[in-house]
Subunit: 405 residues, 2 copies
Amino acid sequence: MNWNKLFSESTNGMKESLIRELVALTKGVKGMISFAGGFPAEATLPSKDLSEIFAESIKDFGNDILQYGPSGGDKFLKKEIKKWEGIEDYSDDQILISTGSTNGIYYFTKTFIDKGDVIISEGPSFLGTLVAFEAEGAIVEGIPMDSEGMIMNKLRMKIASLKNEGKKIKFIYTIPEFQNPTGITMSLKRREELIQIAIENEIPILEDNPYEELRLTGTKIPDIYKIARDKFENTDIVTTVKSFSKTLGPGLRLAYAFGPEKVIGEMISWTQKINVSTDCVTQRAVSNFLKKDMFRPHITGIRKFYQPKLNLMLEELEKNMPAEIKWTHPEGGMFVWVYLPEKLNADELFNKAIKNKVAFIPGSKFYPSNQEVYHELRLNFSYPSLTDIKEGVKRLADIIKQELN
Amino acid sequence: MNWNKLFSESTNGMKESLIRELVALTKGVKGMISFAGGFPAEATLPSKDLSEIFAESIKDFGNDILQYGPSGGDKFLKKEIKKWEGIEDYSDDQILISTGSTNGIYYFTKTFIDKGDVIISEGPSFLGTLVAFEAEGAIVEGIPMDSEGMIMNKLRMKIASLKNEGKKIKFIYTIPEFQNPTGITMSLKRREELIQIAIENEIPILEDNPYEELRLTGTKIPDIYKIARDKFENTDIVTTVKSFSKTLGPGLRLAYAFGPEKVIGEMISWTQKINVSTDCVTQRAVSNFLKKDMFRPHITGIRKFYQPKLNLMLEELEKNMPAEIKWTHPEGGMFVWVYLPEKLNADELFNKAIKNKVAFIPGSKFYPSNQEVYHELRLNFSYPSLTDIKEGVKRLADIIKQELN
């Protein structure tokens, strides 16, 4: 068969997430210390509690949850999510339970994107999302960040120039807290500016907040949707997606989206065509986990577990890295972002690093197509042990020093 | 916000599955006997066993299955599926675990379809699939059936005329066993002809077989992929999707697809962008259900449960319906299809029927756009009780008799 002749244009042009391949290169290598992955540590996964709760949920509600469920999601889980988020004023039709955040983001993308439409994101941003945007034919425009997040002047200029070119900007995608890959959190002031700009230009915001509960130091800044609602009295401009992946486990593929009913309604129509619904057993089990007030103490435990890892990584970077090297100072999440001098190329450094048994992801992988920056890299601190963080940062610093000489 | 201006063309043009609305009309109405749904009976859902197996699976493998899993699916489940299907010669890369059959079919559609491409299906066919095909911009051409399934002369003529028009035919979609909505099973001869035509024209076949295990009488006819492999020595032309929805419960959203590695590979690339993977907990639990040899006896139980329902529905139709009315004689599945005289309109009959507290789905709902036939209707026998089947068929026959007078 001449498959490529039969395949769709988007299939033939599809980009892969190269991160998987890079991570694969580091797996099973004896002595390898990997800062490459983006996995939660197994010690934070509540296997024992979930084992009991799944058993109980199926025993008590099997006839209901083994049956077809509503495409928008289980009403019991929606009730618990409303309580958790403090959005009891939202109707059930403003909430969609999705098969992970990526799934909710995909439905949002399908709702808005025709080939050639523009999505504005932070540059760099989460690769999984970028490849999905591009697979749907979107042009992604990355806006640079500083320590307060997306730079608003640059956003304004980009919007103006895109409009000038006659481009259709369909939405702004942001990961405001402990962003993947940089670990940067958007400041309150920037969040307000972002909302202002979005309202002025009638461009919806997609707020992706998977790391929110992994705040390890500092003070929570209100979610963008909350600022829009409370300060701008606008409940149309923001759609938010949040996930249970970083708290209960990514294997559950469970997340939720909430926003204007009109948008959520179309996302549910896409759900009917793509998944019918999210796994109803998992939905009810997690609903019961929340109902029994097990989620709050579980998160406290996760924070206690990750906090020393973040602290140690920042300390060891300080101790070991040469003066030319800078990095972000995240207050949570899973990642630290390192800025190398421009003469160093992190893609090349990767090959040297894995020979020396330490791995990271080169920063270029996180940029939209044709906007790559090559002197940055991402370090994960959630998965490696404390001993490995100490030794791994030292190894990496040694390699960088060699390169600089 | 001017949402429709922002929404994508496909979102603005999207058709809903009207069946949900029709089913909703019949729900909670006192005394209503519904043949409208397509749900498995709750008595067939193995709640007790699954409760234990989920608990055990999470307890024993929590650290593995709560973590991210491969996009293509759990290797333990793939192993069990290979054994079950008798495809031990397939590599893991030829199998994809999907979030229900609809999900696998969607990935297949994304793999092949550009806007304006043609998909050939049976007419009528499963509405959930038809609306997904059309949402992706495909033109669906329905081929009429007789008691042996899709009529092959009509298929040949349709392919010839589409080719004449310069249309790109991307695949042939078929539900060969106990088809939804008609209950018709494609004969062995037709399956062979279908493969022959597909090979000659280089058009892939998508074989959707969710009802296979619900064979209640008669003898199993080999799957289309098996005939292609064994008789035509062709392992490229057929991709097959099968589901656990009708046996373990649709709430689990679990199904699998297998076929040529090149096609499955692209479907996995779409999985990465749309769901990342299917729920890993559910995958391992079902894998253990299969491993413990609990699936075969469970299916035997389901068959014993449904068989009297099918028999009774056919008997009662025979007893009660006027001579002008014909219907299919399924050997399994969930549905019987009724042919009314052309002067009757099943859409109009529906309204009269629900007033008389009996419901069905008008046949027109199952046709591709602009190909509707109005004098047919679908009856479900899996969900209603034996008492309700007896009484419901009588009510329906009475209404039809009135209409004929």
